[in-house]
């Protein structure tokens, strides 16, 4: 029986010109956004590879130098783009794309692509994620608002129920019909996207797992919206009221709540200004943090003289400068850790505010999950920034270690290519699926609750729906 209702519902929808037009439109936008995203990510990846090679070449071929000069010269690290980011570019345009790894400083990421674009970008760029999060729900609303209210208005609801169909079956059939119509649109796009993913990149198991979970996330979201549309259609008196209510919810979901979350998160967890942040770091460098004091050159000298039993620094078997540089590097690391941890944590607390507001707007949960799985959320930006910083520290330790061990205090010392080549290139590994989902428990919970709540409301609505006007 459910199948027959579903088939009837589907046929009705396919005959409806309004659905056909809007489905064609959404389908076209979905295809364009997938294609555009794919082109952009591919070219960005190619550019990154070239840039990495050039940067590495600069490092390796810098010629003979004092290791600490090389440390000042440093290298650039470039943020990689995961293949799945063609579905959801997330915060990538709004974060820097490269970072200079040099002595003494943990630099910020440079060059936000958004800074080069005009204010028009504030309207957002067409991405598959945007279409799936914003436009598909609208389509679901169009499909579902009249499901029960419309039948009731036409008087057919009484007839159907009189023929012995259970209310629950009726609702299930309606849901299946809406889902079927939607599937005609979404399934080909998903297949196309998967094909692009498999053909276009070295599809690893972890990437495929991310893609599968991504699909499940969006299906859950659509399921929640189908439930919501049917529930409202059953609960409210007329199809007109159902449409108005659903559209209002859509506006809150897609426009009002996401923006409101931005300012709310800033009120709740204020982040420092760039000026304050650099001040805090200067302050830490001057006076220490968490009880760690700036290194004392004289104390280190005395310790070394005592340790090696010599009277002057020239007699030390190690280069004092290498040792003190490393000590100040380690002190600087503590200062940076203290400040950056606080900053990143603030950002993540702000993200948590966005996620919590998913109580009123499921889009916020699905957006967080989608960015996470595409590898374009703040947490994964931080993950890369941390990896780059760890790499910088290892590199500085290698430079200072070479200076300390292979030269004497006061001596003019130049190291060569061997030392540069001995520092391996940055080999970044994206976090695992479990790590990504671990950050997104709030969103998963919210999305699950929405699905459950919407479906229960639909079932309850079917049970209590008035049969006639």
């Amino acid at each position: 029986m459910i199948i027959r209702i579903a088939r009837k519902e589907l046929t009705d929808q396919l005959r409806d010109g309004r659905f056909r037009a809007s489905a064609l439109m959404v389908g076209a936008l979905l295809l364009v956004s997938l294609g555009a995203g794919w082109t952009q990510v591919s070219s960005a990846r190619a550019q990154l590879e070239a840039a990495e090679a050039t940067a590495r070449n600069h490092w390796e071929s810098q010629g003979d130098k004092n290791p600490h000069s090389a440390a000042h010269y440093g290298v650039y690290a470039f943020k990689p783009r995961l293949p799945l980011s063609f579905v959801d570019q997330g915060v990538d345009p709004w974060t820097g794309t490269s970072v200079w790894l040099e002595a003494h400083r943990q630099n910020d990421f440079l060059m936000r692509p958004a800074q080069d674009a005009s204010a028009a970008q504030r309207f957002g760029t067409l991405t598959a994620a945007g279409v799936l999060q914003q436009l598909v729900p609208l389509l679901i609303i169009l499909l579902g608002f009249g499901a029960l209210a419309g039948e009731r208005e036409r008087g057919t609801l009484r007839q159907v129920l009189a023929s012995g169909v259970s209310r629950r079956d009726l609702m299930a059939g309606k849901a299946a019909g809406v889902a079927g119509a939607l599937a005609l649109l979404v399934v080909p796009a998903a297949l196309l996207g998967s094909a692009a993913l498999v053909l276009g990149s070295t599809a690893t198991g972890s990437l495929l797992a991310r893609a599968v979970v991504l699909a499940v996330v969006y299906l859950t979201y659509f399921g929640a919206f189908i439930g919501l549309a049917l529930a409202i259609s059953a609960w409210v008196p007329s199809s007109r009221t159902a449409l108005v209510t659903l559209l209002s919810l859509w506006v809150v979901n897609g426009l009002v709540a996401p923006r409101a979350a931005v300012d709310l998160s800033g009120w709740l967890h204020p982040s420092p200004t760039a000026f304050e942040f650099s001040r805090q770091i200067e302050e830490g460098m001057a006076n220490g943090v968490e009880g760690i004091r700036p290194p004392d050159r004289q104390a280190i000298t005395n310790r070394l003289l005592q340790e090696y039993g010599v009277d002057s620094v020239e007699d030390l078997p190690v280069n004092l400068s290498g040792i003190t540089l490393q000590a100040s590097e380690e002190f600087g690391n503590a200062v940076y850790d203290h400040n950056y941890t606080e900053l990143w944590d603030t950002f993540e607390r702000q993200s948590r505010v966005h996620e919590s507001l998913a109580v009123v707007a499921p889009l916020l949960a699905v957006r967080a999950l989608s960015m996470g799985l595409a590898g374009t959320d703040i947490e994964q930006h931080r993950h890369f920034a941390t990896a780059a910083e760890t790499y910088r520290r290892d590199m500085m330790a290698a430079m200072n270690g070479d200076l300390a061990q292979n030269s004497r205090t006061g001596e003019t010392y130049l190291a060569g290519d061997e030392l540069w080549v001995s520092v391996p290139p940055l080999d970044y590994e994206a976090p695992t699926l479990a790590w990504v989902l671990g950050n997104r428990t709030v969103s998963m919970l919210m999305l699950g609750l929405w699905l459950l709540g919407a479906l229960s409301a639909a079932v309850a609505g079917a049970r209590r729906a008035e049969v006639g006007p």
């Binding site: 809007s22 709004w94 005009s118 996401p258």
Partner: protein
Amino acid sequence: MTIRTVFRNEMRLLAADRVLLSSLVLFVALFAYAIANGFAWVAKQEGTVAAVQAAEEERGAALAAELERIAAGGDPGSPFRDPRAANVLGGNLGARTVVLGPGPLASLSVGQSDLLPYYYDVSIYTNEQTFLQNGEVENPLNLMVGRFDLAFIIIYLLPLLVLALSYNVLSGEREQGTLALTLSQPVAVRDVVVAKLLFRALLVVGLALGGSLVGAAVWGGLGAPVRLALWCGAVVTYGLFWFGTAAWVNTLGRESSWNATVLVGAWLGLVVVLPAVGNIAAGILHPLPSRVEMINTAREASNESVNRRSELLARYLEDHPEMAGGVVDDVAGTAALSWAATEEVNRQVEGVAVRFDEQLSKQQALVSRYRLVSPALLAQSVLNDAAGSGDARFAHFEAQVRTFAEEWRGYFVPAILAGQVMTAEAAMGRPEFVYSEEELSVVLGRSAMPLAMLLTLALLAVVPAAIRLGRVRGGG
């Protein structure tokens, strides 16, 4: 007479309509939230500007004290911290902080001000790469979504209120059968519909203008009456566009639900979809060359520079004066050598920057062309410009910073190359930056085109609506 009767009638209807009343109340609440956000944002920016300026004064005082100490026979400690050396004074020790304060109506529109840098330290090392530094420390997620300011309400939400109030302004009368009744009176349909729309327009646009005035007043925006008038002009024209569209759709003689669908579709297309499609088209048709090229060029230039070693050594010694003995024998002249290398790198980076900017201006030309088809994009550019939070004001600031950096170099570089000692007077008389705000005529001139285009779009809806309204007859 007619207008007053219709207004009184509409007022009664409105007072009885719970849904409409509550959505109006909701809008007032949203306005209040947006005004509070705008206020907080400007307060934060003003606070930052004050802190940055205070820090600069502190630095200036420390510099003066140090100069006095040295004049009294004190030892500067190291040649790399000696304020009498031109490269040190013009470098980080005497650097000036240049600041762009929030725009005159910044509390109304955050615009680009959360993204673009509004303060820099200018020294002899200021170059194209300086402008690539990130602006404020801001959560990228918040940048991506954008802020809940008045401009957001006006651009996105106001049209929805307009449409909700007027999608059935004529069709509803016909469906209820009241149209025939009205027509039996000695009034023209056009007058009744216009009066109904006028009532709604006064309500909605009045709400928006009132909100804007309050929002501007909370942070001294009333002191910029011309900009405020420009802002209000954009709000009224944008409102006119949506009311005109609703009126026009009503005259097509279809039922209310059809009107609603078409109007919501138009809103979705013009406000949400079209700008997003335009942005992706701009990115594909005129992709920006990677900024990475600029970095790599700078590094290659510094590698190839004949004075590379000297420059690196000099920089090295600036950081580590205590090691001077161990690394080089001859410190004298490194400042001039270092400057030569810096200049060479700057020249090459500028070459890349010029190529980049050419491509960028192509992309922006495309953006400003497709802006013409979306009233939302047009409204956004006028509102941002009026508020002083648009791209243009930041570009204006950046251009002044560039000029100032040149002046700064002109002041110090000859002394660096000549190895001259800077006197205390020369140090205290180093160039100062004074931001000159954009001329109002420039702002108005820039907004004239988008505003005229917005008005044209509005008239394209209003005129046919008015013509068709004159022909409406009663009946079902």
